[in-house]
Amino acid sequence: MNSVQQRDLVRRAVWSAIYLLFILAPLFALLLGALPPSRGFGTEFSVALGYSGLAMMGLQFGLTARFRYVTQPWGEDVIYHFHRRISLLAVGLVVVHPIILFAVGSKHLAMPDSVQDVPLGAYFAVLSLGSLVVLVVMALWRTQLKISYEIWHMTHIMLAVVAVGGGLLHMVGWSFYLVDPWKRALWTGMTIFWIVLLLYVRIIKPLFMLRRPYRVAEVRTERGDASTLVMQPEGHGGFRFRPGQFGWLTLWGSPFKITGHPFSFSSSAEVADGRVEMTIRNLGDFTSAIPKVPVGRRVYLDGPYGAFTIGNPADMHVLVAGGVGITPMMSMLRTLADRGDKRPVILFYGVKDWDSVIFREELDAIKARLNLSIVYVIAKPPEGWTGEKGYVDAAVLKRHLPPPFAEHEYFICGPNVMMDSIEKALGDMHVPLSKYHSERYSFV
């Protein structure tokens, strides 16, 4: 393990501890000072789960607040994966809370004689729980429900705020543990802090972006139904990125617009004038408008993000790309070429057909500037094709890579199915986790 990996490991451990602290410290703070009489194990256990669940829901705003220092040791795709999985746990805890109360026959869940007798805290509980359930259903089955990403994103944020705000009002309204003013202040302060994290991403960051716009300098048509947006910073020097990283692009409207779209940079990181390029394939949604973007249009970029970036391998870079997953790899190749790096690089590029090979001509040309071998793996090869056919798998990797496989540094980007298959293949080839890097471009 090199020093960078050791540093990342320490940072992961520290952030994990801080995450747990933010969940558990406010819970155990409730045990300090004057306490109301205990109501039995089941009730107290369910209450602890409810408080923990709310704290975890609030921390979701922190996970998606795009703090580079937090996300860098993990990679943005892993953070979003954790965000999705931990939300199921948080919702589970919040749902189990009233179920346990029912099970232990809590008098608080007894049906009141009239609507007027329903305590305010109960209304907020239903509001919070209902929002959470809708939020989770929409997040899990957005595609099946045919909800556009833009509508979903807006609704997701609103439901999350209602769920967390409702949860807090439920606790305050019940006035059991939070009857103590300082405890109420602690939990209210925490809720405000979570909402501020949201405001940071939605208002403070866009304010900075507003002062650092970009202009579309060129829109290039690429193979494989893809287009490259060339963007030039306007009135500022741009930012430096590392090859493989990505940015959030706001194409139509101001940076305050709720939906930015994450795309990898495809240009060289060695460009000095701040110009950046993103190569985007038409997937039939927002991306279908990319070829029609007028030159000169003002756009906004939030970045760079991501831990998927070339390192300093002892022997060989092995790049494995599927479809439009070639874009971060192209940035890596262009950067290595601009740096005059002559270490061996091998690119495995899985595509549907020969005409869909994005950057085909440039890949051929860039070989002259690098020690680069390219293995195209084509699902529907043209007649007379003598190269690899089908999909990139362990057999293809083993045919073209020199042993020992564990010595190389692997970079993988492509569709989820391909990523899962390659990760399994590398595991079978005994490549340690520290030797491969991946980024799932469909992480949002």
């Binding site: 558990l24 107290e44 789960l49 746990l89």
Partner: protein, 31 residues
């Protein structure tokens, strides 16, 4: 594999949080 690592973190968080909720409840009933 990296996502598997994240899944394990979620599992660890679940175990810790539930254990702490049990501890919280025991602390309460123990007075």
């Amino acid at each position: 594999m990296r996502r598997l690592f994240a899944d394990r973190l979620v599992l660890a968080t679940a175990v810790i949080v539930i254990a702490m909720a049990v501890l919280f409840a025991f602390t309460r009933i123990a007075g």
